[in-house]
């Protein structure tokens, strides 16, 4: 269930408790009703810009408002039950007086009251579930399309990350560290989607850090941070007039401190930028939390909880390889024995992107030939392995796919729409989609955007290969 676990019985008890203490200034102890989205909604409705957390008095008033609205809805179903609740708790009449008014016995009134609370709980329960679902969908819609269909070997890290983010106190930053193509973005995405089901955060912002458009070189840290704050403001405040950098920081600080937000900064490439970002976001945290994915582990800045991604072990690498092979229709590799998998693993190690690309190559070329060629490059840095894989993949591409791929460095992190893809590739609508499909199946093109607006982009490693090896851009 989305949000805090809730049972009808628990809700009934809480409703009764709230009715009994109707006139109290604040709820006695912790009341389940306070945690309902319905209740929070009722508070926000009265004071949309109020700070967080709300005072006990504000919450009590919200609870009462919520109950009154629910009684009004109950009245449409059963007028008598509604009347009993209204008279007994809102007006504070004793049972005997209520019984007299309704020409009923006290036993009958007691029965009506019990049924009324049950029915009221059912009304609130249904509304709460619907609200939670709506809230979750709204939060989820802010996320880019997940870059994976299934995670391998990351369940424990995901659990740790979720737990850390749901802690009400520090660490305020979850830092996911690892080399390119190791799965940082996928892990961050999985953690965020899980965290969102708890409905603890007001909004989620997903920011993808960019590099210099021409060279792909990382931006200077200060420029990068300014770019990030611009993205934050755009996602949070679409209707404000333009702001200067100082104004933006002030605006963000106030919003992030007023209510808890979850901000993802994906793909920090250098030590300097990671350190700088972690230093600057100090003024934005608490209760807001950040997830930062980077290639290096920062040593200064706001208190962080670290998740360091290493290569997959053999077992998970095998699972990923077979799963991906299955997904691209390569049944033979999907069902291959351990010996075959081990041969691949000896070349790619547990690098997820490399495993996927080798599987994609094997759809067309003989696996031994692939491994033989790539095996020579494995003794060097991981970048050499990727370069060799990319070259292999490039040579296999159709002309149309090459026309599209070589132009993709012109596309920013947000991805491009089909119209722009056709323009930069020279392809037509008829020839574009087969090229897109081919590149996606080879793990060379990433699908982003939403169901209604698909956008296409490339991995940073792919861009780097294209610029240096194919386009020859200096």
């Amino acid at each position: 269930m989305i949000g805090r676990n809730l049972t009808l019985e628990e809700l009934e008890d809480s409703i009764h408790q709230a009715f009994v203490s109707w006139g109290a200034l604040a709820n006695d102890g912790e009341n389940v009703l306070d945690s309902l989205l319905l209740s929070q909604w009722a508070v926000d409705d009265q004071d949309p810009e109020g700070g967080w957390p709300r005072s006990p008095i504000e919450r009590r008033r919200a609870t009462n408002r919520m109950l009154i609205q629910a009684i009004e809805e109950l009245a449409k179903k059963d007028e008598t039950e509604a009347k009993v609740l209204e008279a007994r708790f809102v007006q504070g009449q004793i049972i005997r007086d209520v019984a007299n008014r309704l020409y009923a016995s006290t036993d009958q009134v007691n029965r009506w009251q019990r049924l009324a609370i049950k029915d009221l709980a059912q009304i609130l329960y249904s509304r709460e579930l619907a609200l939670r679902e709506e809230r979750y969908r709204s939060l989820e819609s802010a996320l880019p399309a997940p870059p994976y269909t299934r995670l391998f070997g990351l369940e424990e890290m995901k659990r740790q990350g979720v737990e850390q983010l749901l802690e009400p106190e520090d660490a305020w930053v979850l830092s996911i560290v690892g080399i390119g193509g190791i799965g940082k973005t996928s892990l961050a995405d999985a953690i965020v989607r899980e965290v969102l089901t708890h409905l603890r955060f007001e909004r989620v912002l997903w920011l993808r850090a960019g590099g210099r458009p021409m060279s792909g070189e990382p931006l200077p840290p200060e420029e990068l941070f300014e770019q990030l704050t611009l993205m934050m403001v755009e996602q949070l405040f679409s209707e404000l007039p333009p702001l200067s950098p100082d104004e933006r920081s002030r605006q963000l600080r106030q919003s992030f401190i007023a209510k808890p937000h979850l901000v993802v900064v994906d793909n920090l490439e250098t030590d300097e930028s990671t350190t700088h970002v972690l230093r600057e976001i100090k003024e934005f945290v608490e209760p807001t939390k950040f997830i930062v994915t980077s290639r290096s582990r920062p040593t200064v800045g706001v208190t962080s909880f670290f998740l360091s991604l290493e290569e997959l072990n053999w077992q998970y690498a095998a699972e990923l390889l077979r799963y991906h092979a299955q997904s691209i229709g390569l049944a033979e590799l999907a069902e291959a024995g351990d010996e075959t998998v081990d041969a691949v693993f000896q070349v790619t190690g547990g690098n997820p992107l490399a495993l996927k690309m080798v599987a994609s190559l094997a759809a067309v070329l003989p696996l031994p030939a692939i491994l033989d060629e790539l095996g020579h490059g494995r003794t060097g840095p991981i970048e050499d392995l990727y370069r060799n894989i990319y070259w292999r993949a490039w040579r296999m591409l159709s002309e149309d796919a090459r026309s599209l791929l070589q132009a993709m460095p012109l596309v920013s992190e947000s991805g491009a729409l089909p119209g722009q893809l056709m323009a930069i590739s020279g392809l037509t609508e008829v020839t574009l989609w087969p090229a897109v499909t081919e590149l996606v199946s080879r793990s060379l093109l990433e699908v982003r955007g939403t169901l209604n607006e698909r956008r296409y982009g490339i991995h940073r490693l792919t861009e780097s290969f294209l610029r240096t090896e194919i386009i020859n851009w200096e």
Binding site: P213, E247, A258, Q420
Partner: protein, 399 residues
């Protein structure tokens, strides 16, 4: 040297964005915001290659209105700087246009020295080319810079020279309207409300003919202030109503706050305190309360402070004045800072602390004495001097 195929993709990409109707259609700008990264990449890549520089430079120039209105000043300044670095020595006309655009973006970022330098360079290039339009645009830019500095004589001088050139050219109503608007707001700053009303009214007519509805709306708000000062309240209210309708139609939410502030001030000047407070509170939207543009927020807070002070709500007024003072300090808006210090001093006095009030007045006095051209500053100077003398006498008498 990049591959021929990539150069072809670059050229196609530039053509794609040059043909994109969203650049000149404000209703398409929210969607274009999502594409901004791709548009900027097209320009940046294109500027780096000789074969594509010219097309990229023209696309750069075409993006100006979108970038300016959407507030991407800092990001785009870097692009313009890059375009200038790569500009061929003999492409002086394009260089001058880029410099003028850059000057305007620097001004929006309060980089007034850089803005002045950029416009002066553009003016020099325009003179070398004998291009009247370029010179006029540079002079308009310089006028705006001087006005921002409250140097009204210079602002007036440059605005007049720009206007004369635009009118002589007779080809750009929009530019002439901007020059008239600048003359109008400069006159407002000087306290010459008749002249302000004349210029602003003419600016409105020109924007109407151009047609530039949003600019017309903005100028109408300026004109309403001048008319309000002249006691023509009904005319002023009509203009604000018209402007509100335009901003709604063209979805310019950012202008609405400024409009409500003007409306509130109009009511305040007529002593309609309840109406004034209602308008200021509309300007003080939830988004504005969370932050908003510092200057506009501070103006709103200062006005709320004034109206609440008049209604005897001293504590609440004081909170708004304190916030406004902070805001104007950050924004570097000296006369408004002095005005807020004035309000704060009044609340301090009402709370029974004349010494502290005197200190605030002294601070405000030092500020207004530094800007002798500003009519508002001159009025405040006389007022502050009077208060300081009166309060000091009272303190001395008690002692």
């Amino acid at each position: 040297m990049p591959s021929a195929q990539f150069i072809a993709s670059l050229q196609a990409n530039l053509a794609y964005w040059s043909d994109h109707s969203g650049l000149t259609d404000p209703t398409a700008w929210p969607a274009l915001d999502r594409e901004r990264g791709n548009l900027f990449r097209a320009v940046i890549f294109g500027l780096r290659q000789n074969k594509t520089w010219s097309k990229a430079a023209h696309l750069t120039l075409s993006c100006y209105t979108y970038v300016f209105e959407r507030g991407y000043w800092s990001e785009w300044s870097a692009v313009l700087e890059q375009a200038l670095d790569a500009c061929a020595e003999d492409d002086l006309a394009v260089k001058a246009r880029l410099l003028n655009q850059l000057g305007n973006l620097y001004r929006k970022q309060r980089r007034l020295e850089d803005a002045q330098t950029a416009h002066e360079k553009a003016q020099a290039l325009g003179s070398a080319l004998g291009d009247t339009m370029l010179i006029a645009q540079a002079q308009l830019g310089l006028g705006r810079v001087y006005r921002r500095r409250l140097q009204y004589d210079l602002a007036d001088n440059y605005a007049s020279r720009a206007l004369a050139k635009f009118e002589a050219l007779g080809i750009s109503l929009k530019n002439a309207a901007h020059a008239r608007n600048l003359l109008g707001v400069t006159a407002l700053g000087r306290g010459d409300y008749e002249a302000a009303a004349t210029h602003l009214s003419q600016a409105c007519d020109l924007f109407c003919q151009a047609p530039e509805p949003v600019e017309y709306g903005r100028t109408a708000v300026n004109l309403s202030e001048a008319l309000g000062r002249l006691g023509r309240v009904d005319d002023a209210l009509e203009l604000l109503k018209e402007a509100a309708s335009i901003f709604t139609q063209y979805n310019h939410q950012g202008e609405r706050a400024r409009l409500y502030v003007s409306l509130g001030f109009l009511h305040y000047s007529q002593n309609d305190l309840v109406e004034a407070e209602a308008a200021f509170r509309k300007a003080y939207s939830p988004a504005m309360r969370r932050g908003g543009p510092i200057y506009l927020r501070a103006v709103t807070e200062m006005n709320l402070g004034n109206v609440l002070l008049q209604q005897g709500c001293i504590e609440e007024a004081r909170d708004y004045f304190l916030s406004a003072v902070n805001g104007f300090r950050l924004a570097g808006a000296q006369t408004m800072l002095a005005n807020s210090l004035d309000g704060l001093a009044e609340t301090t006095l009402a709370a029974g602390d004349p010494q502290e009030a005197i200190a605030l007045y002294r601070e405000a006095l030092a500020i207004v004495q530094a800007v002798p051209e500003d009519a508002f500053a001159r009025r405040m100077e006389a007022r502050f001097l009077g208060f300081i003398k009166e309060l000091q006498s009272a303190i001395d008498a008690d002692a």
